[in-house]
Symmetry: C2
Subunit: 426 residues, 2 copies
């Protein structure tokens, strides 16, 4: 039984009665999706513990850190460089945005035809039903899509919000421009934290976050084995989702522990799926916690997800920051170069994403790709046909799924996924 | 009877049979909306003639110009600086995008939940049913919204397309960045036209386009008179819509002619609406030709539109380019400064737009504002509540209308507009 956190939530100004409704349903949802799985890696016990008290354990740590003078920065996007915040002794946290629970509140302020992630995020803040959204000293947004860009204007009327201008293209001058935005963020973080950024501190932070990238990539590496699937996609997703919230050093340690166990499973021939289970690469829009909908449907329909090409997957850890720069301008540029390699659909053109997905399909030896889109995510949706055509041209079957956070379409999706998986077996 | 243009359309590779369907309905639509109006300014005869042969007169001129070696650039947005194209002896033309006729074709390639302007534009190109989309040697896009930004990727697979990166903010460095984009566009236009840009030629082009701005503004100026409304909003809109297509020098001459006539009407007390007609400021998303839907509904519901705050209205001509710069870098910066004053919802924050709308409401002495949004235009839609609250805080009534190009909602809109106009009279 988790510790009672109501006093903390009250101190955070949360709407306790409404939040209790969420707390009442989350354990059941978690149990249905996760605990029903067989032969889970022992290393998942850490993430099970965290998620069992998702609005308690980490928020309590953040509150304690704030009491000691640390500042907390809430971020929405893998484009915001954690390194800059950490180097100023700040803490980065992910934010709530993955449940239908927060959507109706968001729709009070945003049009219904905005993606559920954006509506849930704003709803979680304005409805006072997310501790992370209460704790953060500042929110750091970016201009990666119209919906978020304009949502931040509403958020800014309620809380300190800093927005970075993400380039829309990837020319050399755009990388320079992103480096400049990172320098501006650094100045902002210095102001908020009261700490001065130095090249030495930033170098340490870069090393820390690169280590996290390596650890998460090490877990993913074990999923490439063509015969043994040592971890479900559902469990891997949970690790990734919580990586946005956790202390990066602990995240690295836990991911490395898990990777060690998975590597042993490969040596021992321990798979969580029967031999011959169809291997799926999931591509598209991010899956914020507790959005486990598609993973659960797919992995209870006779297939296994062996890779997630999205911001709660490979985009979070692929490519390291070059650690050789020794001064801040050089480090800002090295950060910009790494972050600008993320193939977000916000860029035009975004053909490198197609190459990356084809590479992932080969590297993870998948039988098919399920390309997903959160409803009303224009950028990913418009480029989907080009991606899907490129996959089909390589003989890789693709299923396109557009969905949101509701359960309305679960049975329909299950039917479609089952038909797709059956087709892969023919 | 207009000249038969079928030979030209065939040479342009158009789908004649489908295009004939459009040609068959347009005169009726034009007649219903325009020719039913009483006491129209004589100066409108020019625009009536142009629109009666909208896919003939100007396309024929463009084809002739191309035969003499001039290049035609199709543009989608008031942010693309005509001056640079004109200075290289190029021609800028607007493109088709204002009718439901083109939407189904666009929906073959784009999701249905993208704004009708974007779907119609792509549909007009790929369906081969718009001469301007066939004639243009190059299309020049911009990153003003997710839908257009990603649509250009599809367009680029079919035709030469150059995209400018519009900034997402309006800090001094963003103005510099836009100046840099204008310089890059200039290089592209030099390549396409084969002509070298000089400061002298650009200075002439700046003067030309400033003159057009002054002429269009002069027409609008006459609409500020609180007692006499010398021109309907419907007619003023037609002038604005065709300004995107016409030769800028002729446009200037015709607008000045019209302005002279309207000024005389003010002196003579000639109004096209009865005394006491409620004055409306229309704000929001652009109205591409032949989108006359809202103007027709509003002006046949007892109100008059006296100003359009959109890209087919004040945004097209407000603010002149500083003509004092004498070299290209200075001129590019002057252009950037002027264009960056357009308060597009693509910017974050976009609070200057609220101030501008309040100023327009005062200057045009309006009784109410109708704030419109094309379905699925996220940027304008998300900022609408802030704009509308600011107006209401000043005691200015606002009606919010979201619509598309179909006729499905016409009667419902008419009922809402009539109720709004009646309320203004209370």
């Amino acid at each position: 039984m988790a510790e009672d956190r109501h006093a903390m939530w009250q101190d955070l100004g949360m709407d306790l009665a409404t939040h209790d409704q969420l707390c009442a349903v989350l354990p059941q949802a978690f149990g249905d999706v996760f605990l029903s799985q067989k032969n889970r890696p022992e290393g998942m016990a850490f993430w099970d513990m965290v998620v069992a008290d998702i609005h308690g354990i980490r928020p309590a740590e953040l509150v304690e850190a704030q009491k000691k003078g640390q500042k907390v920065f809430g971020t929405f996007c893998t484009y915001v460089p954690d390194e800059v915040v950490i180097a100023c002794n700040g803490i980065v946290t992910g934010l709530c945005g993955g449940s239908q629970f927060w959507v109706p509140e968001g729709e009070k302020y945003l049009p219904a035809d905005v993606c559920p992630l954006i509506k849930a995020s704003l709803g979680a803040r304005l409805g006072k039903t997310c501790p992370f959204f209460r704790i953060a000293d500042e929110f750091v947004g970016e201009t990666t899509c119209d919906g978020k860009k304009k949502m931040y204007e509403i958020l800014a009327s309620d809380a300190p919000t800093y927005v970075m201008q993400t380039p829309q293209m990837k020319r050399p001058k755009d990388i320079d421009s992103w480096a400049d935005e990172i320098a501006l963020l650094a100045r902002n973080v210095e102001e908020v934290t009261g700490n001065t950024l130095t090249a030495e501190k930033l170098a340490t932070a870069i090393t820390t976050i690169n280590a996290r990238r390596r650890a998460l990539a090490r877990v993913y590496e074990t999923r490439k084995n063509p015969d043994i699937i040592p971890i479900s996609g559902t469990d891997a997703l949970l690790m990734m989702q919580i990586a946005f919230f956790d202390d990066p050093i602990r995240c690295t340690e836990m991911a490395n522990n898990l990777a060690g166990e998975l590597e042993q499973r490969l040596a021992d021939g321990v798979s969580v799926f029967p031999a011959g289970t169809k291997r799926i690469l999931l591509t598209g829009t991010p899956l914020a916690i507790p959005n486990w909908k598609l993973h659960h449907i797919i992995e209870t329909s006779g297939a296994a997800i062996v890779c997630e090409e999205n911001c709660t997957g490979t985009k979070f850890f692929t490519n390291l920051v070059d650690e050789s720069a020794s001064d801040l301008p050089g480090q800002f540029h090295a950060l910009a170069e790494r972050y600008m390699k993320i193939n977000c659909a916000c860029f035009t053109p975004n053909t490198a994403r197609i190459e990356e997905v084809l590479d992932l399909a080969r590297a993870y030896q998948v039988d098919g790709v399920i390309n997903t889109n959160l409803k009303f995510c224009t950028t990913f949706k418009v480029e989907a046909p080009a991606l899907e055509s490129a996959l089909e041209a390589q003989g890789i079957p693709v299923l396109d799924i557009e969905t949101d956070y509701t359960d309305n379409d679960v049975e329909q999706l299950r039917t479609r996924v089952q038909a797709f998986v059956e087709m892969l077996g023919e």
